[in-house]
Amino acid sequence: MNRPSAGLWPMIGLFGLLLVLLYLLSDASHNAARFQQLYIVLLLLSSLFLLSLLILIGLNLVSLVRNVINVTPGSRITLRMMTAFIVFALTPASIVYVFSIQMLGRSIDSWFDVRIENALVDALELSRASLDFYMRAALQKTEPMARTLSDVPNAMTALSLSDFDRTSDAIELTVLGNDHRIIASSGVPGSSMFPRLPSGSVLRLVSQGDTYVGLDPQNQAELQVRVVTQIPATRGNPEPRLLQAMYPVSSRIGKLGESVEVAFSKYNELVYLRSPLKQSFILTLSLVLLLAVLFAVWAAFYSAQRLMAPIRDLAMGTRAVAKGEYHQKLPVGKLDDLGMLLQSFNQMTEQLARARDAADRSQRLVERQRASLQTILDHLTSGVISLDDGGILRTVNLTAGQILNLELDRYRGRRLEDLGDEHPMLRGFYNTLNPHLGDQRDWREQIELLGPTGRKILVCGGVALPLGGQVVVFDDVTALIQAQRDAAWAEVARRLAHEIKNPLTPIQLSAERLQRKLLPNLEATQAKVLCRSTDTIVQQVKAMKSMVNAFAEYARTPEIDIRPLDFNNLIHDIAEMYHSNSVGAEVRVELDPNVPQVEVDAGRIRQLVHNLIKNALEALEGRSDGVVDVSTRCIEDSGCRFVELEIADNGSGIPKELMEHLFEPYVTSKVKGNGLGLAIVKKIAEENGGVVWADSVPGDGAKITVRLQAATQPGQRTESELRRRSA
């Protein structure tokens, strides 16, 4: 941030030069001779001064305009100050200038007076009259001499001239021939060695018979009267001759005449120069005024820049602070008002810098803590999200996204409710969380979601944050619950085998033995009772064995052989087998040709389809218009492709009270059956990564839907698939 101190010395120098010029002008106005001598110097100096000022002002003006265009701090106020300075300088200067011009004109006009002019003219006329007297006297003296010489031959002319020289006061007498050659001449001592001949015009005048009388100026303000006249021709001197006589004029008369002439000429010159003189004074005054005004303008530039420098520094410092540069120090000059302001600014920036450094340290600490927390969150096996009071997602960890099969990090800052529109799975999630968002107490719930990877069971817990909002922690317990259920059923199967199935054989054998041992010894009536009883026992034991085997089969964890399967072909083959069925129902098949392959265990899926069709046919027993619709279709949900199988009947439907536990073992609305059909269907679907659900309107039939994931490209295994493979 530069101070304009470098421009101080030129300003002082120019100011000094301006003062010198003004002094010289003032001095010269009183001394014409000095003015004459210094005029060119003044003119040159003024021109240089003017040029210097113009260059300086031009440079400053260009700089100012550039700064205004670039919106440099302080430039606009400098412009305003400059405008004010110029107006304040020009207004009084213009007034003074106008009055000065008027005063100057009047002052010069006052030099001239008609009376003086008349007096000078009269003095000149008087001088002329006086000289005329001399000339007439000289003529009167010369004419007799010319007549006398008319009878004098050329050879005697010199003698005659000598006589005239002694008797007259002529200082030079010369006789010229017809060819203007000198015939004779005489002069007083001290006069010119050679006679000064009249000019050609005088000779021509005299040759025509006239007489010339005139005044000839000499050096040292002397005047002489020249008389040239013709010498009359006579019989002895027939050729015309000329006589020139030179008479002195009194030196006093000559000096007085010269004095009058000089005064008249000077006055006349002054009158002639009046207008140019006015113009020159006006121009000089204008030049000085221009110099003074330009100097004032430049001084205004300099002062404004000097005054604005601290403000400009302050503005630039403020900008620097706004950009976060707190360590910039402003130069503090004098401790005046602006200096104290700059000092205060520096103190403020120091304090800001310290505060900023402290805030930076705190922020870095918070960032490190946040990073640590994020690392912890990312490595948790539970999903963690935080929502603010508006339900906007603020924090997520990796596991949350993995559980919900979404890149939740992308949705940070968006309302969870809005995300439900894009991802139906999140809708159920949000619906569960929503009642608790304003809740200040801890809460815990289990959620079951149907997502692209199948059914998920989440255990959610939430707690209100101190600054508002909720943090929600959830775990995917689908596999855990499945494993627990499998283990429970396995235990049931084992206990059944151990506790029920094992005693059945001895019971059966004992009943058969009783029949075999006692039957021969009994009467027909008793034998008939025995046979019926033992047969009943045997039949029931067999039924129980069958039930236990079915249960064991359900509880068994079979080997899964996952392979790509053309799902439509499988459905078509199975449905073909049921076109002629014992119920007499119509089996209609509608397969979507766009259904892709699925990666499933073909045998288990075949069993699933058999179970569902049988189940549907059993629901139609006793109806003559029974119809079973078997259809497939391909759908996309949450960016995944699925294959859905729907098997619908137009039977009596599923009672409402059974819907909730429809897929659990021993739940059936039919008289016959062991209640394991739909439970096995659900088990097979889940083993193959699918889901199954039922829709029913009582009295209007039922529909079972199985959704399986479409086969993926190599390397694109889903989580559920991986889970199934690992299982």
Binding site: A32, F35, Q36, Y39, I40, L43, L44, S47, L50, L51, L124, S127, R128, L131, S199, S201, L215, D216, P217, Q218, N219, G257, E258, V260, E261, F264, S265, K266, Y267, N268, E269, V271, Y272, L273, S275, P276, L277, Q279, S280, I282, L283, S286, L287, L290
Partner: protein
Amino acid sequence: MTEVTHRDTAARSVAGLVFALLTGCLCLLDGTLYADGNRETSIAHAGINYRQGMYLLDVLVDYQLSRPLKEALTSGVQLELVIRAEVLRENQWLPDTAIVEKDFRFRLHYNSLLEKYLVKNEYSGDLESFTELTAALRYAGKLLNANLLSASRLEPGETYYCQVRAMLDQAGLSLPLRMLAFINPVWRIKTDWYVLPLR
């Protein structure tokens, strides 16, 4: 006769240019400053004679005064008419070197008492009076056998030439007229150089 010192014509031109901007408008208001449109002053004849080891100069200038100059003269303003002669040595690469610079001055003014034009030859000191301006200008423009330089100042093997011009010395004008002469050409008399070989 006076020896002429070279003036800083460049600085003068700059000053005149700046001043012209300031004074031009005011000067244009004065209609008497415009030129007559007559012939310009020219050198009608010039010659160099060699006599007894001296080079003598003859010049005949045809002076033409503009109307403002005539009016100024009859109003009492003195005019200094100058015939400037220079002898220069030719240089091949550098500017030619002036070895002689001479001004022959004639002071012309009008005497109201005598009603005559007086011409004083500053070179010879002679003062002549004329009733006609043309006769006075003819006298002021005639230079016969004026000493130019001695032949001994010329170096053998070098080439010399003489150049002559006639002009009105503006420094001899009154101050306001000198200022006008900066601006208005009608107040200026200056012929081109008339070049004479020197053998």
